[in-house]
């Protein structure tokens, strides 16, 4: 048992080998191409999810009756891994871009939707009474109360969802597409190039880190800082 464990360590490529692999993949453009392919899918899927989940979440949060009926459906769909949708994605969209984007969309939709609903329903009713007192219209209530009040939680949800998308894109690419960092890993494994696998993994890690840093920066924007300072 211990011996086999040790053996598996032996199979890890050396640093020098990894450096060479990195240079190969970088210079022939594979690494950049794969990264861009993955990032593109994540971006499109994530934006689509955010564009749909935020308005739907705000509406549901402010309409408790509707939410009460829709919530079971959400809670039923939510625990199904986005990867479980792969067969249907491939059936509907075939192997390729659309399938991957569809899966990313599913991966980030609920992590954005659920916190948005919670944030919108949790706005203190007093703020709406102030809004009524100041005679806000629907549009002003949205712009001056609902959006800013929920923004800190929405940004947090977006950050989590982006992390999940980045996790899922690699898995999706291993099955449903023939490009991207996930595909690079599968392809390298099939060719028994563990050094390529490591390069891809490190790249995934670094990009994930950068994405998270970018999202954290957003949370320090002036307009959402109030939430941090409260309490």
């Amino acid at each position: 048992m211990l011996a086999s464990f040790w053996q598996s360590f032996e199979q890890l490529p050396g640093l020098e080998q990894i450096g060479r692999a990195f240079w190969e993949l970088a210079s022939n453009g594979t690494l950049l191409r794969s990264t861009i392919a993955s990032l593109f899918r994540v971006t499109v899927g994530f934006y689509l999810a955010a564009l749909l989940a935020i308005p739907v979440g705000l509406a549901l949060g402010r309409r408790p009756v509707v939410y009460h009926w829709v919530n079971p459906i959400i809670q039923f769909l939510r625990p199904i891994s986005p990867l479980a949708w792969v067969p249907f994605a491939m059936l509907w969209f075939g192997i390729g871009e659309k399938s991957a984007i569809f899966i990313i969309f599913f991966a980030s939709f609920f992590p954005i939707l659920v916190p948005t609903v919670k944030a919108a329903s949790g706005i203190h009713p007093m703020y709406f009474q102030v809004a009524a007192n100041l005679q806000f219209g629907v549009w002003e209530s949205l712009r001056l109360v609902i959006l800013p009040a929920t923004m800190p939680n929405i940004l947090l949800a977006l950050r989590v969802a982006l992390g999940i998308s980045w996790l899922v894109v690699v898995a999706a690419e291993m099955i449903a597409v023939k490009s991207g960092l996930g595909y690079l890993i599968i392809d390298a494994r099939n060719a028994l190039r563990m050094d390529y696998v490591v390069v891809a993994m490190v790249t995934i890690g670094i990009i994930g880190l950068l994405l998270d840093l970018a999202m954290t920066r957003l949370e320090h924007l002036e307009s959402v800082r109030w939430k941090l300072e409260q309490k």
Binding site: Q129, A132, W226, Q230
Partner: protein
């Protein structure tokens, strides 16, 4: 003379199980606290019972009562946030059936929008003014009125509790209300700041003699120092226990015999039999 006269006419408010603005099954989500929801099971509890009260324009009325007796509820009925189950509130002969921007409410909990700066908060009450620079000037004027001219660019969380209260009062004043309803606006403040705020309220009322002020408080000295009239509510359900006119001119002092006798009476009404 009768302009902006408030008539609270036999108002009764109940919190009861069946009567609910939101649907009964949505109640467990617990989100919509705006309605008169979630009461004690089955029973309908009267909170306000047959309250009748006339208030003239320019009066400074303090509403006193035990915690939980229904002071905020009464004020919210007058503000149009809560619909009475019986009776009605008439302002200037018109039945109140919703909030209005010339009857402004200052909340017990502090209701500045934390995501806007102080001046942006005040600016919200001035949206009817089209001209941007004029608006800015007006907002600045109201901040100066409460001695916050330097704090316009700050967010509420950067200010002290007293400054936040003053900022909210500035926002309320900027709406140029005929009626200013204040629900324990000084409750979160330390004693010294409260004393300062009392003086500032009196100055404001002297400056705006037509503005009617309804002021809920626990603090008997506060009410004795500021108001023209005291309304004391009884408990569960709240009725008007007694109404007192206070004609002592400002500035009032603690040694004034009329006031100290009145204080003893009020303590007595509220069930306190020995106080300093």
């Amino acid at each position: 003379m009768n302009r902006n006269k408030i008539c609270v006419d036999h108002v009764t408010v109940r919190y009861k199980n069946g009567r609910n603005r939101a649907w009964p099954w949505s109640r467990k989500n617990g989100s919509n606290g705006a309605g008169k929801a979630h009461a004690l099971d089955g029973a309908s509890t009267a909170i306000l019972q047959d309250i009748t009260l006339d208030i003239d324009a320019g009066e400074f009325v303090c509403i006193l009562g035990h915690s939980g007796c229904g002071k905020s509820t009464l004020l919210k009925v007058i503000a149009g946030f809560i619909k009475p189950d019986e009776g009605a509130v008439l302002i200037d002969g018109q039945k109140v059936n919703g909030p209005q921007n010339d009857h402004v409410f200052v909340f017990q909990e502090g209701a500045l929008f934390p995501w806007l700066t102080i001046i942006e908060n005040v600016d919200l009450a001035l949206r009817s003014i089209g001209n941007a620079s004029e608006r800015r000037e007006k907002a600045q004027y109201y901040l100066e009125l409460v001695a916050l001219e330097g704090a316009g660019g700050h967010y509420p969380h950067m200010l002290s509790g007293g400054m936040r209260q003053r900022a909210e009062i500035a926002r309320a004043l900027a709406a140029q209300p005929d009626i200013l309803m204040m629900d324990e606006p000084f409750s979160g403040l330390d004693y010294l700041t409260r004393l300062h705020m009392r003086e500032e309220m009196l100055n404001l009322h002297a400056m705006l003699p037509d503005t009617t002020i309804l002021f809920v408080t626990h603090d008997i000295d506060e009410s004795l120092q500021m108001s023209n009239r005291l309304v004391i509510l009884s408990e569960s359900p709240a009725r008007i226990k007694c109404c007192r006119q206070i004609d002592v001119p400002h500035p009032r002092t603690a040694v004034c015999p009329t006031l100290s006798e009145m204080r003893t009476q009020i303590y007595h009404h509220l069930g306190v039999h020995s106080a300093l």
